[in-house]
Amino acid sequence: MDFSVLRNLISRYCAGEEYWVDSRTVYIGHKEPPPAAEAYIPQRYPDNRIVSSKYTLWNFIPKNLFEQFRRIANFYFLLIFLVQLIIDTPTSPVTSGLPLFFVITVTAIKQGYEDWLRHKADCSINECPVDMVQQGTVVRTQSSKLRVGDVVMVREDETFPCDLILLSSSRGDGTCYVTTTSLDGESSHKTYYAVPDTMAFKTEQEVDSLHATIECEQPQPDLYKFVGRINIYKEREDPIARPLGAENLLLRGATLKNTGHIYAVAIYTGMDTKMALNYQSKSQKRSAVEKSMNAFLIVYLCILISKAVINTVLKYAWQWSADRDEPWYNHRTEIDRERHVVIRAFTDFLAFMVLFNYIIPVSMYVTVEMQKFLGSYFIAWDKDMYDEELGVGAQVNTSDLNEELGQVEYVFTDKTGTLTENNMEFIECCVDGHVYIPHAICNGQILSAASSIDMIDSSPGGYRREHEDLFFRALCLCHTVQAKEEETVDSIKRGIHLGKPTSFYISSSPDEVALVEGMKRLGYTYLRLKDSHMEILNKDDEIERFELLHVLNFDSVRRRMSVIVKSSSGEYLLFCKGADTSIFPRVVSGKVEQVRARVEQNAVEGLRTLCVAYRSLSPAEYEEACHQLSDAKLALKDREQRLAQAYDLIERDFTLLGATAVEDRLQEKAADTIESLQKAGMKVWVLTGDKMETAAATCYASKLFRRSTQILELTKKRTEEQSLHDVLFDLSRTVLRQRSLSGLSVECQDYGLIIDGATLSAVLKPSPESSGSGNYREIFLEICRNCSAVLCCRMAPLQKAQIVKLIKASKEHPITLAIGDGANDVSMILEAHVGIGIMGKEGRQAARNSDYAIPKFKHLKKMLLVHGHFYYIRIAELVQYFFYKNVCFIFPQFLYQFFCGFSQQPLYDTAYLTLYNISFTSLPILLYSLIEKHISIEMLKRDPTLYKDVAKNALLRWPVFLYWTCLGLFNACIFFFGAYFLFDNTTFTSNGQLMTTNTQMMFGNWTFGTLVFTVLVFTVTLKLALDTHHWTWINHFVIWGSLLFYVIFSLLWGGIIWPFLNYQRMYYVFMQMLSSGPAWLGIILLIAISLLPDVVKKVLCRTLWPTATERAQRVRADGVHEGSVSPATGPDPSPVAGGGGSERDMLCPARTCEGERGGEGVRAARTYDSMMSHNPNYLLSQPLDHAPSDGH
């Protein structure tokens, strides 16, 4: 517990920046360094024991109790219970003690059991055997005994027991392959490297002879960051220092693959390992519903306190005369009399609090938690959100936010892998303006493509031929793809299966695979990397070998990667590929214009483009580059920064070779989903790292932008011409002018905004020099608010989160949702109110950090429009109903105080007080909140505008809350005064002899309470029945069942003399009451009066001011009325099977409705068609599936 807090703190301060907390020095094999080096300081590190259990046998009870009472609901219970124990209480301590005890015990048992399981799991992990090298031999030991500095041997397919630095492997080149599936979900094999100086140690003895220390940073949770240095001491020589990076660090939890065995040294153990550090709890998100729930609670707490205060004050005012306080028939006890009046008043206040405490629906917390927990199963169970291909369904990582799914106002989506398939296909490449298209995929298209390039000057010649060769080689060499020879890797990951089945490529970047595979189809096959030589099979089936000297890895800041190779002829070549913007400025020669034209054309068509350039290095230049690189790599401080500088220096003076185009298909139904989301009133923002043209094309294809959308650009290009200030004001003027006009004109112009990362940071940067106009942020938000769609391109991952934060903090505080699939989306997923991860190809990081994970983007539609909507109305009703029913419950008790001399006399019996929330009225609302469907799933999917009906927390706003509370108060008054008038001054009497003679008995106060309570239970349950729109057998069972249960319980409770009770006040009260005719008539009457206003209000609202939802319900009802069998209402489980005719019947009204709102549907269809005809290249997998096909 305290550990994780500390860890959180550390990680918070260290995240993002390269902050050197402290370094640790690890002595490999616990050998002291030679005396020349610094003194051997034995350091203490945690052992390799993993402790995930929370309790031990001894601290279980106190710690568990403490944990449990930290929860507000339990604590409140406890407080009330203690007050009841201390003071002379109106209700027995059992009423709150029993439920409390029950909840605490069950929870403790469950937690204890889970902890026992964890203990067991910990044990099995800690005891799993590990091979350790000691004195030149391999010793088997338990994993938990490992210490920092131990040298470990790991065999193939074994999992690393702690974080290790690779020393040597059975592979000759000092590499090993590792999968990190269990860590980040990426199943590709990653290569890790040993330091060249240690890779030669092949046997235990040799390893044992190694004399070295490792200096590295203290553990930090980032899986991909590590800096360290290994100092190797050799006989009488200065220690050799080698840099260590993330490529040397084997993480606990990862598995060794394709490598016989490795030797490695432990540097982080136990709870210090990156895996353990990564299992910290995420920051908790709270939903809007929870916030309003808490606000309501505070209101009720105020009501509770004021009720108690009012009653206390009135009590003492009323008791002013001694005859009222202590009439002769009702004396106080001596002790009571001696008490000071202030103490007495305070005790009275507490007693009133106890009496009214039920108005705070403590059981609501339990029910809400349960509803969320159980309700979330419906998401996981939904077969519509199951993806056959991946074999996974939707995943719920937190059920706290179910209802927030129905409240989303802004959707931030990633492009690659989210909107698109991230299934890259090589389309074409262009060398100096000449277009090459692999035959294999684009059969017959070569002509049309060729015809489009005739404007490009093509002069064949040696120069071109040379460039062509270089270009293909560049693409074959400049990548981090591995060739795989085995077939065991699961084939889903690999995407397209082409060529020889015996070898395929794996890489963390699908683009690279697509490129290498494209090259293969163009005749250049990358074979493998062997002994730092890359082998290429060229067009003429010759194997060419290049020595791989350096890889300048890709990063999202540079947006390019390079390799330095040495050809067989001894030439040093630097190949670089990257985004056009990062390549063109560094190009000094080559046919820039032609390539740029082609790149732009491709980008417009929505293809992902990369530019390829090279530079040939002289040996001297190479030496210098080498020097710079190793310098930077060796640095312990600011390594990233220095590496970036080094890269910057090396990657320059390029000769442009050409460009590639890779297609990323739009995901199935992505356009339909986006359209639905927009219709549902959500603003969809696309945040991507891609270039503007590509991204914009995707946006058009996915119908985020339509032809009619007026695009506003806020890009670097524009801000270079004008000042940012002017551009912003220009745009806002355009937008605002339009808005003021739109009040009059029918046709509403929608705007789309495109902004790029650079401009965004300029907008967000507080400008100190112009304080007056400095607040661009507001203007920017104002523009955004008026745009229907926003595209942010060229975004760094952190900027994505910034955008989300910006919108979150804007003055309406909208609910945001971020959806993405890659590691670069994690920041925004964590930042947004609801984070959704797509279980995509870029690993599972996003899915792991998200609140919900879905297989495909299209599932978002059902997730939000159906599940979100349902959860929201369910929980909203749940919350409101809980407050309502407790008002109904407690307010009569409050009123009763006015008639019993403010003596805190409870109106109801203890059993009723205890069981009201626990059993009489608990199940119907729980089941309601689990299975209520006010409208069919199909209808919700078909008419996204229904989502607007619940937007902005519509069902939990203050007026609604006030209505429910007033309804509760009204009902309470009806219950109480109804019973009062029945009893008052009249002969509301019982046939005391149970039907034998016509004798009239008098009823007492307990009958009064029972009458009120009976009316209460029935009214409250029937009120829920009136609100239920979806009566399944479960609802029937639960609603009628709990009423029946109440009756049976009451009969039983009053039926016998309970030996364990010291009072028998309920004896035969219920039966006597039922034996009286007026009681029946009174109960029926009071229930009718209580329900009447709500029914009238419902009917009137529905008839006079129907919401869209109510209209849709009507449509359905009418449909049923006319007798047409529709899938929405019938028991038929398959929506597809419905007849086309009835489908259309039902569709039409919905369409018209929406047409009234602005004719969007029609216009959208038109523009969409025009787009299709305009640009045949639009790559929609399912072009016309946006509406159910009603054509036949």
């Binding site: 419906f378 996981a380 009239q1000 035969y1068 008539l1081 489980p1133």
Partner: protein, 369 residues
Amino acid sequence: MMASSYNAKEEDRHQPGATGHVGSGTMTNKMPDNTAFKQQRLPAWQPILTAGTVLPAFFVIGLLFIPIGVGLFVTSNNIKEFEIDYTGVDMSSPCYSCSQSYSWNNTKSCTCSVPFSLDQPFESNVFMYYGLSNFYQNHRRYVKSRDDSQLNGDKTSLQSPSKECEPYRSSDKPIAPCGAIANSLFNDTLELYYIDPNGSRTAIPLVKKGIAWWTDKHVKFRNPSGNNNLTVVFQGTSKPVNWRKPVFELDPSDSDNNGFINEDFIVWMRTAALPTFRKLYRIIQKKPNNMTPTLPRGEYILEVTYNYPVRSFDGRKRMILSAISWMGGKNPFLGIAYITVGSVCFCLGLVLLSIHYRYGKRNSADISS
């Protein structure tokens, strides 16, 4: 079940470390079952409250409630009730002197006669009640000041009554019956005399059995067993301080009505709901021959043995004579309420009907066009 799932999630959240799969139940990696429940497609009845569907209900309620209300109202009006206040607040009241001179220590009881006349005869059984007002039988301190086990004949409770009975728990010996309720037992004696036109007084027979709930009398209240002689049984206890005689002398004439099972006592022990209440005192049974009314029209005298002080807390004492019907005693409220609700429902039905015709048609026209 409630508690376990209530906490399951909390668990998942806090659970660090290697065994991350313990509690994550929501993860599915296989095709979800295609069952109606899991896919939320259970067959269901889907009622909607529209003007059209609610209309009939309103009319039905209106048409049902109005006759019931009328019936109740008429019945209630036909029930004769007579009430007389004999507290003696006014100087002119016959009980004035008794109410003034009251003290607990009086050994001699004060009696007063209150004359009254009935304008209409009471035909069937007549119930005689005493009514008290401003008497808080529902005060918490009062309500709980009893020991049900003692009243149920439990021997140990007889000797050591519950603490709830304080300060009426013991004087020197434990009090039986203990507690404030028993202590303040209503102890006025009311007798009714009919004044014949010729001036002679005829005592009207008052039946004192059958005024308590049968279950109370036979199950809930029991004399301590062991001996038929109640004096022996109650040995070692003392009478409540305000009582003149011990509990086993409440009705020496009838052993079935003595001790804890005295019906007057049982009636009193059922605490009233409101500070103004009436309790059944006696029954005046219908005469065997149906010819003469139970209480004929004429002059009567209520003879009160005035023992019960109410002036100190501004209380009132009343004697009520009431006939009853199938629906109980006189209760105009129920009838009026039924008529009102019935009429309101009916009117609302009419309003809804007009709304339904004006707007309902338009709405559905909107939708279907």
